[in-house]
Structures are given as C-alpha cells and as structure tokens.
C-alpha cells in the first residue's frame, strides 16, 4: 500500500504534496489580502462619513449572505469576463485569456475573509480603552501616532482570537477552489481517488493533512495570543 504514496510516476506522493503546496500558498497569499480588506471595512464602518459607513456595512452584509462557493463562481466567471472585455478593448485581436483560478481563489476567499475580519476588527477597536487614547492625546500625540503606538498593538489582543478562527475557516475553504480546476490538495486527492479507486485511503489522508494544518495553526495562534497578552492580568 505504501507504493500508493510513493514519489514519482508510480505513486501519488508527489501529486498530493504539490496539491498541499498550492493549498498553503493560496491560504498564505489570501491572508494579507483579506486582512487589508478587513481593515478597510472596519475603518469604513467606523468612519464619520455616512456614505463610507454604508459602503462598509453593505460589503459586510452582502459577503456574509453569500455562500462562499457562489462568491468564488462570481469572481472566477465575472472577473474572467471583465478581463477579456478589457483585453479586447485594449487589443481587438487578443486571444481570449483565462482568468487564473489561483487569482480568483485569492480574490474570492480574500473578500469573504475581509468581510468577517472587518467585523472582528471593528469590535476590537470598540473594546479598546478610550482612556488610553486620551492619555495619548493629552501628551500631544497625533492621531496617527495614537493609532500606531496605542491602538494597533492592543488591537491584536482583542482581534487575534477572532482572526485565528477566520484563518482556520479560510484554510478549509481553500478546498472550494478545487471546483474551478485549481490543483490544490482537495483536487489532487479527488484525482487520485478517481484513478486508484481507493477513496477511503486518499480521503483519510486528506483529512489528516487538513487536520494537521489546523492543529499547527492553533499552536502558532496560541503562541501569538500569549505574546499579545503580555503584561495583561488574567481577569481584570
């Protein structure tokens, strides 16, 4: 049975590993995109300007209401359509080009992550101690300094647990991109099952790998939370 997982032509080890690499890449590239969108959404919904608030709120509500897979289809097909329209406008003879499934995955998963992260960050902002912000003002710090030196470092403390959950969700949601033909862990597993007719073995393997990634994430997150809570007494 071990030849099944062997490296090279005979086994599926290299295919599965390549799939895993794609999955990890996708998640890691999506994270900053999602965080960036999350910060934008949080700022928008906390802003004093009504239209901005409406925009932030609208984005969050829409993304939260859509099934992730639908978002993915809309991004993949819609963005592909736009890309080709743009290309043809630029150069009428351009051959139709495919929107990369990887990019579509990053954008779609990033948009979903961003919507939820926006809520987490907004909540974290609102739970920051106003008195500490005033203390910053009182010594003459600018709003930027207050944000960078007082709010942001403490934001992590309040946002980390929520963001950690979102990261783990997103890690699992990467499996969705297998339906738009990205060769991630999920898709390679399905291919292997199709060829070898050994669903139990390969799905179990995939389960173990996803599970291992989650456990690893949780260990790292716990470490980060411990760091962020440096100096904070357990229950104040």
């Amino acid at each position: 049975m071990f030849e099944l997982f062997a490296y090279g032509d005979a086994g599926w080890g290299d295919e599965i590993l390549r799939g895993l690499a794609i999955t990890v890449q996708l998640a890691i590239v999506t994270l900053p995109v999602g965080l960036f969108l999350g910060f934008l959404a949080a700022f928008a919904s906390l802003s004093g300007l009504r239209p901005l608030r409406a925009l932030g709120f609208g984005y969050t509500t829409i993304m939260r209401g859509l099934p992730e897979i639908l978002t993915l289809f809309v991004v993949y097909n819609g963005a592909g359509l736009l890309l080709n329209k743009g290309l043809r406008w630029w150069n009428p003879d351009a051959p139709p080009s495919d929107f990369s499934p990887f990019a579509a995955g990053v954008i779609a998963l990033g948009m979903v992550f961003g919507a939820f992260a926006g809520e987490v960050l907004r909540g974290a902002f609102q739970s920051l101690d106003k008195g500490q912000v005033e203390a910053g003002r009182a010594i003459g710090m600018t709003d930027r300094q207050i944000f960078r030196r007082i709010q942001l470092p403490q934001l992590w403390r309040f946002a980390l647990p929520g963001l950690g959950n979102l990261w783990i969700n997103m890690l699992k949601d990467t499996a969705l991109v297998s339906v738009i033909a990205l060769d991630d862990l999920m898709r390679m597993t399905k291919v292997a099952v199709g060829v070898t007719k050994q669903p139990f073995t390969f799905y179990l393997l995939a389960c173990l790998i996803y599970w291992a990634m989650c456990v690893l994430s949780e260990v790292v997150l716990a470490q980060m939370e411990r760091r962020a809570n440096r100096g904070i007494r357990r229950a104040v």
Partner: protein
C-alpha cells in the same frame, strides 16, 4: 519683586453638551508656581473645565492661552487647530483612572512622550524616565506592566509620564479618587513634593486637606460658574457664599 509669569490663561470658557450648558463662562489664570485646587460638587463641571484646557473637550467658546500660544474657540470651532497638539504637549495631565498604556512597562510609558512627541533620542529619554520613576519612588518597578502595579503605583507612573514631557503646568483630575484609602497618601505625597518644587498645578480634587494645605488658590465651581475663589485660609475660614459654606460643611 517681579510679577510671576502667566503660564496658563482661560478666558470665558463655555461648554454645552447638546442643550445642556455645563460651563457658563469660566475664566482662570495660573501663574508660575501656582497650585490651584478646583472644588465643587459632582456634576458642577470640574472635569469638563479641566479637559477644556487641553482640548480633550473642545469648548463651545472661549480662549485658552498657554505659554503665549493662544487658541480662540467660536461656535465650537477652534481657530488654530494646529496649536492644539502643541498646547497639549506643554500641559501634563493625570487622570482619575490613571490611563496607563497597558501594553507598555512603567518605563516605556514614561519614555513614550519624549521619544514620540519630542523626538528625543532613546538613551536620553530612558535616563530621564529612570530618574523620574526614582523620583516617584518606583525605581524597583520600572520594568513592570501596569497590571502588575497597585493603583497608587500606577498613578505615580502616570505622574512621572506627565513630568517627562517637562510641562509648563500639570492638570490633575481627581488623581486619588479611584484609589483604595490606604494608597491615597503616597500619591498625595508626590503631588505635595511637586508643589514644593514650584510646579504649576491645577488640581480637581475632593481632598480638602490637599486643597487647604498645599494649594495657593482655591476655586469653587457651582453649576458651571465660579462661585467663589481665593486663598484657601480665607475661603475656608469665612465662606462668602452659602453654597460653598454648605459644601465644606458636607465634606467635613
């Protein structure tokens, strides 16, 4: 003798929250070495007035001058917004709830202002912060986080943090009101020593002992106006207004 220099001057400060007029025209002048205690019953506008001085609260109208730099406010709009941060860095503030930055140690709390706002070199700011923490009796607590300190120790760190900016005057808003009774003394002692070294201080307080013995002037606020003002001995010996008389008989 030369007339002591005016450090801070507030002229005709008004402040309304919506339709509630909290300050109805308050003027106050602090000269070098003055220690002014502001008294008044709860809701009389003491905190609001103090916070108007460094624009944590923007007055509805009035004028604040610190060290020759003035900010005029009309219809809730300060005329030269850019001076606000400048004025704030010249006025220290100590809060009832300490408001230390919980993610920084005592030493880092004290260094933050000089390094970030005044752009002092790190080493210099550190030396100064260490000296100040020693000055408030916390040389053995410098590397502790606020959560590891008692209320009295936290408030002394907050005082060192204000001092580190080398302010022209320090504003205190009920600095001992959040403390357990046995910790009040250590903070008052530090404040008393600041007064003795000639610091200009404006102190909102319920500590009658401090007002009587340490301050050079007492201001009694009532319903958003100064009801009575003068040297503490005179004021406490023969109150001129009925409201102040009632106030001191209540706190005694």
């Amino acid at each position: 003798m030369t007339k002591p220099e005016t450090i801070l001057k507030a002229e005709d400060i008004h402040k309304s929250f919506g339709r509630l007029e909290v300050l109805k025209g308050i003027s106050l002048e602090a000269r070098n070495h003055d220690v002014i205690s502001i008294l008044g019953s709860s809701g009389s506008g003491k905190s609001t007035f103090l916070r108007c001085l460094n624009f944590l609260e923007i007055p509805t109208s009035g004028k604040v001058t610190v060290h020759g730099e003035e900010i005029l406010v009309k219809n809730g709009k300060p005329q030269n917004v850019r001076h606000i941060e400048d004025i704030r860095s010249r006025l220290g503030m100590v809060f009832q709830q300490f408001n230390l930055w919980t993610h920084r140690t005592a030493l880092e709390n004290v260094m933050e202002g000089p390094v970030q706002v005044k752009r002092e070199p790190n080493a210099e700011a550190r030396d100064k912060a260490e000296a100040l923490l020693k000055r408030v009796g916390l040389e053995d607590r410098m590397h502790m986080y606020p959560s590891q300190l008692s209320g009295g120790q936290q408030q002394r760190v907050a005082i060192a943090r204000a001092l580190a900016m080398e302010p022209d005057a320090i504003l205190f808003d009920e600095p001992t009101s959040a403390l357990d009774p046995e910790l009040v003394g250590e903070v008052l002692k530090v404040m008393q020593s600041l007064a003795a070294e000639g610091r200009t201080m404006i102190v909102v307080t319920h500590e009658m002992g401090f007002a009587r013995e340490v301050s050079s002037e007492v201001v009694f606020l009532h319903e958003g106006r100064i009801a009575e003002q003068g040297p503490p001995d005179e004021m406490f010996a023969n109150p001129k207004t009925e409201v102040f008389e009632r106030f001191i008989s209540k706190v005694k």
